[in-house]
Subunit: 416 residues, 2 copies
């Protein structure tokens, strides 16, 4: 039996935080988001991280399958990335004029990403998706944007829901929402909004929260690409979450099509702060026409980290490595669940797997199982996809499956 | 006579960049923005930076008065800030759960900034201004935002101009623009939009580009504050550019009033990538209600850098130091200009001075003078305010004034 973790220091820190930080912890890393149910099962503040491990403030060690919600792709504190970043830091980071390492990074992305003739750098995934939408509007002189229901494209008002706090109708009035994989509905939306649609924005497959992840239907992307071509619409792939965990050439390349614009962040530099828009040649003038920048957007250190990260991902053949490790884990978890007569659904690409115990549609049983895993040192969350990083060992996977087994056993006993 | 700089490597890098990066260099750091006229006088890519100096790609050394457009407040590669950041990096940076150093940073800002009962962290100055506007809308359930003409609050569509590329009417339909320092006009705007104004957003004084900077008129801020109080409107101070160069307690404190929300970036962490919204207690629930976050927003290294930066700024009494150095420079430049019978206007707080030779309303003469300074190693720009950093020495100021003298002499000869 594994030790059951407790979190007194984490709780105390959170209580203090609530006095001076709105929500104590905001966004997806905080308890308000719904990833951490029941909250008692989860730590909230961390002490340190290394490789595939995270230690909470009480010193409990976790095998971390959230990977900072994506940025940790090689392992925390990767020595090659950190060395490249430290070398650049000794020279310069955020200065009045950019360092040419920015050009080196753009060259590398153009070499690596199939649809990329150019690269534009920013700081948030949200900067990339917002810049891509502005670029599409500049290019087409149209207003409307098509989204697939279940999407997440960041936090700017244009991408939020009308009933969210601080959002006004004008923010979302040009949004059109269609069902994922429903080509007929998409074609009808184009028919109903002829010559008004600037862009379709989509993740490479549907990896929303609170639902099984769904791959594109046969020929779906080919048909969407053709519809965009026929109507002069910009096809934007939001690869912020899946990028470099499916295909180093871009997740559009994995699915056999070519985006006009593709957005990267997270896995781009192993946690160093950079995001990117890459695009085809015909989009470059529109991108150049935007007034779009920020104080830190040309800082040199994240470019050095990004170069080292992509080069190492290439050496490791990273997406395949992550998919292979994810497949071992997935197979082991499904088999273990079956021992206890649970039907565990594991969806999405295995490097970005989504978990759901399908036996209970209320998801309560699933939450109970996740809680028992977390309290024993496996950092899963309930309703968000998970992430594999390259430092995750076979030993880690074995330990994960052992703990998952114990957690299944606990909930089986509880409900027998 | 100083050597005249040439920039062949810088030019070659820029030409290469134009193949793979939209505009080669975008935003305020690039030639498209209009800060660098004539472009031939300016380098475009840098090699390294240290203290108050920047070296371009051709190895030319500049005394850098742009300071990365603000982030360099202590001097490039400040050893205290860099040591604190490196120490945190060895432990953790971007991880699944935040490190409690986030709480320490929030505590420090609450202790330091007069209006701050809490702090919320993001990555861009633009994240801070956008979050503040969303927070104001959430708090008031109103839509409209008042801007002062000449403002700059970042690059999100809501803060751009209707005729900018990629911007649609809905982005700016709730914006109201009034003249800086015209209280009657502001009061009329409130009268015309009764119960519809969510926020007034303003820099602490008018430090726009292409125009002399203008301090608030007598009692202006007191009257604006009262108008906001009387109407339940949120007063947002955008201290992204001026923050910590006027008053460590916030530029609102410098002018004797208290913002509801204040936005920081740039000088907050000496170039490490972090921005912040601070606010009064009554705004905390609205801020908590937003769906607003990003992949890197809780990264620990910039918090460590921010703490070290603010603590060092306190030890140095930084705003006063920067104002004192800026005043020496300003006095020296004005006196030198007078020797050549030029009327050099130096406006804004001396730590953030704006330059204009007032003898030629076309600004051509001013641009010629700036060009002659730059080509001799003083990194000024034409139509943007400048920045002082704490490592700028009396020797640097002396050298600056000598070069400015030579530059005045050159243009005087040219136009005699």
């Amino acid at each position: 039996m594994h030790k059951i973790y407790e979190y007194p220091k984490s709780r105390a820190a959170f209580e203090h935080a609530c006095q001076v930080i709105p929500s104590g912890i905001y966004g997806h890393q905080g308890p308000a988001e719904g990833c951490y149910i029941p909250i008692e099962a989860f730590p909230l503040y961390s002490q340190k991280a290394q490789g595939s491990y995270l230690w909470d403030l009480d010193g409990n060690r976790f095998i971390d399958y959230m990977c900072a919600y994506g940025p940790n792709v090689l392992g925390y504190n990767d020595p090659d990335v950190d060395a490249a970043a430290a070398k650049q830091r000794a020279i310069s980071d955020c200065t009045t004029l950019p360092n040419p390492i920015m050009i080196d990074f753009a060259d590398l992305l153009v070499d690596t990403v199939a649809c990329a003739d150019w690269a534009f750098f920013a700081k948030n995934g949200n900067d990339a998706t917002s810049g891509a939408v502005m670029c599409a509007r500049a290019h087409t002189h149209r207003k409307k944007i098509v989204f697939f229901k279940g999407y997440y494209h960041g936090v700017s008002p244009w991408t939020q829901k009308i009933d969210y706090s601080g959002i006004i109708p004008e923010d979302v009035v040009n949004n059109i929402y269609v069902d994922w994989n429903d080509y007929d509905q998409l074609a009808q939306a184009f028919e109903d909004n002829k010559d008004e649609i600037a862009a379709v924005i989509a993740q490479p497959y549907m990896h929303g929260n609170f639902a099984d992840n769904i791959f594109p239907a046969q020929d779906f992307w080919a048909k969407v690409r053709k519809l965009c071509d026929d109507t002069g619409t910009v096809l934007i792939v939001d690869d912020v979450r899946a990028g470099f965990r499916m295909d180093l050439a871009g997740s559009d390349h994995y699915f056999g099509f070519k985006a006009d614009l593709i957005c990267f962040c997270k896995a781009l530099a192993n946690g160093y702060n950079v995001s990117a828009i890459c695009g085809q040649k015909h989009m470059m003038n529109a991108m150049s026409s935007l007034a779009f920048t920020g104080s830190y957007w040309m800082s040199a250190v994240p470019f050095a980290a990004g170069i080292a990260c992509i080069e190492k991902m290439k050496r490791l053949n990273c997406p395949q490595l992550l998919i292979d490790q994810g497949t071992k884990l997935k197979d082991g978890l499904i088999e273990t669940a079956r021992k206890y007569e649970y039907d565990l659904h594991v969806t999405g690409i295995p490097s970005l797997f989504y978990l759901r115990i399908a036996d209970d549609p209320t998801l309560m049983l699933h939450q109970e199982w996740i809680a028992e895993c977390v309290k024993r040192g496996i950092f899963f969350t309930n309703h968000h996809n998970h992430f594999i990083n390259a430092s995750l060992s076979d030993e880690d996977i074995k330990e994960t499956i052992e703990i998952a087994d114990e957690a299944f056993s606990v909930i089986k006993d509880r409900h027998s």
